[in-house]
Amino acid sequence: MKTKTMFMAAAIAAAGTVSSVQAETLKFSFQGTLNALDPYSLNETFTLSALGNAYEGLTRRGADLQIEPALAERWEIVEPNRWRFFLRKGVKFHNGNDFTADDVAFSVERVRSEGSDLTTRVPADAKIEIVDDYTVDFVLSGPNPILHYEWDTFYIMDKEWTEANNAAKVTSASDTTANYAALNANGTGPFKITSHEAGVQTKYEKHAGWWDEAQHNLDGVEFTPIGSDATRVAALLSGEMDMVYPIPVQDIKRINDNSGTVALTGPELRTIFLGMDQMRDELIYSDVKGKNPFKDARVRKAFYQAINIEAIKQKVMRNLATPSAIMISPFMFSKAGDFQRYPYDPDASKALLAEAGYADGFTVGMDCPNDRYVNDEAICQAVAAMLARVGVKVDLNAQPKAKYFAKILASGGYDTSFYLLGWTPGSFDSYNVLSNLMNCRDETGAGSPFNNGGWCDEKVDSLTGQILSEIDPAKRDDMIAEAYKITHDNVYYIPLHQQGLAWGVADNVDLVQRADNQFHFRFVTKN
């Protein structure tokens, strides 16, 4: 009798599970579109994130962004210049092909070929040697401790499939016919892309033969881009979407107040900062003639101390920002805690300006994007108002990113005197920040293409070179800290904050919000 009751209970429980295991489809939306499916045609977070559900790299990053083995089971540095990767056996691509060393070698060549936007994933002079079907060696020209840091987004393609479909050449806008790999995907990841209409909808289906044990309970995913903020939020509130991102900071409260949805917020890796032209002898946009006030460290520090970062955080960012003293997120640098911002102090700022000979202030033009970062234009307006209090008049020129970047970057001849920019090191490592933003450059940008202000400090340059090849992590971090200290002491930049992430999620969906703003379906459960 008792066994019968237990049997009944088990049957009921089983029935209960059966009914809850119906097909779960996650519907989500992002503000931008997923363009070509070719994993090497655009080095941009959302594209790589969306493709990262279908494709996989040799490594991957977990919920906390730690590097984990993926298609490579493990790896070792056999000699300082030789890395050996042991590939996972029994992995199949979505079309059923086996994953082998040939695919890795093919992908390495393809990612470095003309038209690829991810050429820096593998150093140009690195050689790949196939040891056997499941072992590959990378032979480098010098030690490189961060060789694999960006390989979580260097996706391995199937050689046979790519060649059979004439897609060995990377998809590019200069193509005259559609590239097969732009419209189709064949990876090893937990989801396969079953249909893709660029800018309209992309459908994923669970890949049953995935090598890893699935944590998610999804059978399919539907992605629809919604460009308008209000519509995207409405789609979540009305229950048509299970997850939308990003959400405007001003809508966070509304989403939390609505029953059935919650706003998930957290710090992002991107650092927003101000840069100043320290290269030209006279600023392009200023009433100071014959000299460049930004060449004087006192003026730069005066600008720094005139900015009330707490006010920007509370009023402009609605607390969704973390003020920063250095040019990298504390997630990515262990010694970030050693740095303190210069305090907000308008009086000190005025004194510094007077000391530098600008007691009455001066006028400077500022460039700012208005559709690139969270509340970017509002930040610039706040900065302009704060600088006005110490006597500096800012002529703000806020424009859409397409025009903004064309003006302030190398292609526009660094046509700016004072600008706002955001930077996330794709490698999660300071070397990227130092080499792109903090080294000396010439007029064309060679040396450090995104050091728009063009400041030059030989000590930082030589440290950057050493950091590239230093294998000992502790020594390396000390050198990085030293480089950041020089930047901070000389106020070569004015870091503002790490902006926050804000995702809107339905209550019945559990997911992981990674600080790099990548959304991976493998962490999602939907009830």
């Binding site: 579109t33 363009n35 070509a36 070719d38 655009l42 080095n43 941009e44 003309e114 038209g115 936007d117 991810l118 050429t119 820096t120 998809t171 590019s172 806008a173 200069s174 193509d175 005259t176 016919t177 559609a178 590239n179 419209l183 209409e197 660029a198 800018g199 309209v200 629809t224 919604i226 460009g227 308008s228 209000a230 519509t231 409405a234 789609a235 509130l237 009305s238 229950g239 048509e240 559709d371 859409p400 990113k401 397409a402 025009k403 903004y404 970047f405 064309a406 970057l409 190398a410 292609s411 526009g412 930077w423 794709g426 990227n432 792109n436 064309t444 940008g445 060679a446 293409p449 995104f450």
Partner: protein, 324 residues
């Protein structure tokens, strides 16, 4: 008639060329396409190589001639963002825009004409005054605001209608997709059609009202009434018919406007049509899509004007006499 048509066609060709030239000159001021096509970390050398491959370093005149020669063969190049041929992308998006435009034009006519007639015949009634006030709202509120208002009312609060997209579509033939055949497709059409057609509806209503008021005062209507013809016959057969000439002109032109300026509505409702694609193209400096869209729009306007001109011949007998 033939001479008239030929003259019009020649004029149309010149208009198209001028539009192409204007569009092409404008693109130099929208920003640098390369920055939108690569990740921010892409090196300067790679950016320059891409610029070279796309032919963006060539003199403007050469770029323009190349563009016109290809466009004449319906080849608009490859989209910078999507990296697919522009003509394929448009072929996929055109059905969505045309269906939306058709639905909103129908909405504007079916609701606007009766309202206009009523308001014209009963100018002092309370309902007519209500119609006029409502139409003022339709004319003065911006499209995106009406769209968002409708979304928050019918999608978020009442949850009756979808806030974005086309719903389920059915494939007809090799390249047409329709939302008219599924329930979700029809539901998805309602809010965007109203948003897009509201302005046209009020325009048609006010136009018909004004024309009706005018016509009713004319002698031949008075005579018709004096002869004892029934009101129905006088109002609809004699009065209404004579108000239609300007209405057809406006409707025709407005149809062009609906198709061309569906951009805002399509953006608010994430309607996967040409307008949405155009606006995204502007944000991303996708020159091939922008130029193809502008040419297509110019072509639409020219074609519609041409058809409207021809239609006059059939509606207004006076035009038929005295013209070759």
């Amino acid at each position: 008639m033939i001479g008239f048509a030929t003259r019009r066609l020649l004029q149309a060709l010149i208009v198209m060329l001028v539009v192409a030239l204007l569009a092409f000159t404008m693109f130099r001021f929208v920003g640098d396409p390369i920055n939108q096509m690569v990740g921010i970390e892409t090196s300067i050398e790679d950016r320059e190589a891409l610029r070279e491959r796309l032919g963006l370093n060539d003199p403007i005149a050469i770029q323009f001639v190349r563009f016109i020669t290809k466009a004449a063969q319906f080849d608009f190049g490859t989209s910078y963002q999507f990296q697919q041929p522009v003509s394929d992308l448009f072929a996929k998006r055109i059905p969505a825009t045309l269906e939306l435009s058709f639905a909103s034009a129908m909405f504007a006519l079916i609701v606007g004409i009766p309202m206009g007639i009523y308001a014209g015949l009963n100018r002092d009634s309370a309902i007519s005054k209500l119609f006029l006030s409502v139409s003022l709202v339709g004319i003065s509120l911006p499209t995106f605001f009406i769209g968002i208002l409708l979304i928050f009312l019918f999608s978020v609060t009442l949850q009756w209608l979808p806030s974005f997209g086309r719903g389920e579509t059915v494939q007809i033939g090799s390249w047409w997709t329709t939302g008219f055949l599924t329930v979700s497709g029809l539901k998805a059409l309602i809010l965007p059609s109203i948003t897009l057609g509201l302005y046209q509806m009020t325009l048609i209503m006010r136009l018909i009202r004004a024309e009706m008021l005018e016509v009713i005062r004319t002698d031949y209507i008075k005579f018709a009434k004096a002869r004892g013809l029934p009101d129905r016959l006088v109002n609809f057969r004699h009065a209404l018919k004579n108000t239609l000439v300007p209405v057809i002109t406006i409707t025709g032109l407005q149809l062009g406007a609906i198709i061309a300026f569906a951009t805002i509505t399509e953006t608010v409702f994430q309607w996967p049509g040409m307008g949405l694609m155009f606006l995204q193209a502007v944000q991303n400096v996708d020159i091939p899509i922008m130029s193809a869209y502008l040419l297509l729009t110019a072509f639409l306007f020219v074609a519609i004007n041409f058809i409207v001109d021809i239609l006059y011949f059939f509606i207004d007998p006076r035009l038929r006499v005295g013209r070759p």
